[in-house]
């Protein structure tokens, strides 16, 4: 896994797992890799991966089945999409709108090109 320089590693792993759930690499209702398997897979200390899993769990994206492992929640995809949509509207969209204003691009022009 190639890491970006700015974002905390545990968040990058968190988003990586979200991506894998959206792509059905980890299927809804099924078990995902254990913390330690994931640590070897991405080459990162298990403590860091544990933080990613804790975050996934706190958002109810995965469910901890004690003694068995982590399962992807039934509505995991909805939760992830909802979160990413929120993030897009709050963080990315304002920047896009700023640039549209700067370059004088209208909504119509965007729609025409999409």
């Amino acid at each position: 896994m190639e890491f970006k320089s700015h974002q905390p590693i545990y968040l990058q792993i968190y988003f990586h797992i979200c991506e894998m759930i959206l792509n059905d690499k980890f299927k809804v209702g099924e078990k995902i890799m254990s913390v330690r398997e994931m640590a070897v897979e991405v080459g990162v200390n298990p403590n860091t991966v544990m933080r990613s899993y804790e975050l996934l769990q706190s958002k109810n994206i995965v469910i901890n089945q004690r003694g068995i492992g982590f399962n992807v929640a039934e509505n995991a995809k909805e939760i992830i999409l909802e979160e990413q949509k929120k993030q897009f509207i709050e963080e990315e969209l304002p920047e896009i709108i700023r640039k549209m204003k700067l370059f004088g691009i209208s909504i119509e022009e965007v729609l025409k090109n999409s």
């Binding site: 700015h6 330690r36 640590a39 070897v40 990162v44 200390n45 860091t48 492992g69």
Partner: protein
Amino acid sequence: MITINNLDFSYKNVAVFKNISLEFKEGNVYGLLGENGVGKTTMLKIISGLQFPKNGTCVVDDFIPSERNPYFLQNIFYLPEEVITEDTTPEKFINKIGVFYPRYDYAYFLNLMKELEVDPSRKFNAMSYGQKKKSLLACALSLRTDYLLLDEPTNGLDIPSKALFRKVILQHCVSTDLADSHVSACGQNSTSDTCGGRVPTIIISTHQVKDVENLIDPIVILDHEEVLLNATFEEISSKLYFDYGSEKSDEALYTEMIPGGYINVLQNKYGMESKVNVEALFNAVRNNKKVVRDIFAVGCEQ
């Protein structure tokens, strides 16, 4: 658990440690950092019972390393930075020393040698420096001791070997864990049923921070007469903020130019999240010993 209390150590008249206290908690991969000559190697030697403290105590589980109890020695291994030049092969060498370690696992050794791409039947003196280092790493891991002290293990390794190093260390932590756990579904990956140990505690002393940046956690930074930092990544990122931007910050504890801008290390006043950059951390700590100690003093008691 390794507990060091009020430790003094000196070589003849040269003081190395004065009143140092430090704890290494079980089951972690520690990174031991510090400038040249602060005593990283000495620290590893004291923990493994090869050097004896002048004053103060070092306790590993219930053992005092300097007493050199066989039950202690069979459960700890110190791999020095310098490589041996004995006229022997890795497989002969490991079979010779393996008898002293009850969880020694020859099949695991062969697997590691294969993974690290070194021929176990080749003589050490016919190997390159990096191949010797990798052979000895395989030897050290195959002893399956609960404590493993590695002094500059990535020195002299080529780029692919550094990645292999990280992989085998992480797998090593996992395999012991799986063998130890009661979850049968995971147990089948284990290469051996002889390992009944705990998750190993590994201490890696290094200057090659980039090689092990994602592998180590917590980080210990040693100085001549004190421990400057002993904190997990989670603690570090909650106390310090690593700002990657286009400008230098006046409030920064440390600023460094990186491609495309600056990295500023600031006190994390607003609870923001950032990626810890260990090199910048090291320099920030080194240049602001007192400030950093105060920042970390709150809520970081062990």
